[in-house]
Symmetry: C2
Subunit: 297 residues, 2 copies
Amino acid sequence: MSASDPYPSRIGADPQVLPRKDPVVHAGERKRLDGPLSSDALGDYERRGFCVFDALLGPDEVDSLAFEARQLARVRRDDASPKVIREPGDDEVRSIFEVHEDEELFRAVVRSPRVIALVDQLLGAPAYVHQSRINFKPAFRGRPFFWHSDFETWHVEDGMPRMRAFSLSINLTENRPDNGPLMLIPESHRYYISCAGRTPEAHYERSLRRQEAGLPADSLLEAMVLDHGLETPTGGPGSAVLFDCNTMHGSNGNITPFPRINLFVVFNRLDNALSPPYSGQPPRPTHIASRSPTPLS
Amino acid sequence: MSASDPYPSRIGADPQVLPRKDPVVHAGERKRLDGPLSSDALGDYERRGFCVFDALLGPDEVDSLAFEARQLARVRRDDASPKVIREPGDDEVRSIFEVHEDEELFRAVVRSPRVIALVDQLLGAPAYVHQSRINFKPAFRGRPFFWHSDFETWHVEDGMPRMRAFSLSINLTENRPDNGPLMLIPESHRYYISCAGRTPEAHYERSLRRQEAGLPADSLLEAMVLDHGLETPTGGPGSAVLFDCNTMHGSNGNITPFPRINLFVVFNRLDNALSPPYSGQPPRPTHIASRSPTPLS
């Protein structure tokens, strides 16, 4: 950590709650009004750290993407590429990274006018894709993702300087209450939870399957949930959740026969491109965190 | 397996769907009308394999039991007794067995007039407690229970001859959609899912943490859920779910700060007391499956 690190974490100290130093919606007054989110939805996003977009994709579009995602999980099951992550203790595909570069259909949806307008409305300046992946929460044996703030990881392990990014999670299958849906803690984006411990070397090689560092303390999570509750937006294929890079989220496992597949894309402002990681360790591979940002529009 | 085994399973063959050979409600016409369950609720139980009882315990009673359960999890955390089961890869208490014998408050609730009347209404003949336990699904790190029919295990590993038993699961904390609630497959009790594979030796020593045999095939589970759906009865402390010994059920893990604690009691008819296990292996310990049945009333 440098003395000027605005968001120190994993520096060996006790867990700590620090104030957020960045705005949540970065667009100016004009651009705020000029986008797919209504003024109410935008206000909700700003206040709670996330909002739901009911039909971001139409039924045909989402059908093709869902079909393609299932195909990829089959075709790339034995793919040795580091972009394919498998479930811990299993060989089912858990995630496939960088689909916004490698797969034509996913390239197109990430660059569609509607998505670009959303990015502009929230970030208010030229932006690029920091990370993309398809997350498969397989039926019967899908594993949980423990609570985390993405920004904490992106800051410490990737060197993302400030909170000027957000995630778009598009449901390709139904997000049901029982198939390990995304859960978010409203208003958690207003604090930065500095985590105890240090980052193990090459942590990312295991953390995408099961995280070992950057885990917020149970007591802080409990306090946040008691204060602000828990939200589990459910929705059909084509619905989407937008959430701030610092909103605390996680998901339970899935023993139902219903896989939960979603396309997850992170947009970051160009003026917030990655510096060396704040952990002092080598950066993670570029398929996890892009280091050659190309503006979207 | 003997040639006369009415419910063969784990005999090395492929998974199979066999017909149920036993009634679901065992009471005669008079006793059916004479009990805490309304005629509608009883019909529901018979048809779907389970029903919900909204306020089996009053608020004061459930408060004392929940307090006592949490105390036990603390006090018995390092208890070397085989009755205390811990989470896999963790030392949090997952279950404590035989509380209907060892713990005064739990003794009393299992023998309360209301519970005895329920048992009589469903089983229609003298009965005893086959098994009892407190299940703790701890906050943050509670693990899933995969789909299973209890009867399949009790038959193969304990020697329970026929389907003349049911389970009562009393919620001591809120059963929320997000804290790994009980999920049941309606009408699954009408079939016996004979499982592939054989029972490993001393399976129970691991199966109470993570099951390795008696797992129904994914394809059969999927077909049942597509036919009959999935039910997740949620409810406050004091609510209860009654389900037939052969109803397929399971539960997801729990990363929320809300533990899901329930008292689980199995009632079996005296005329269905345990024979030698159908696996041909030694029986499981008596704190898991009583072999000296004492009639309840």
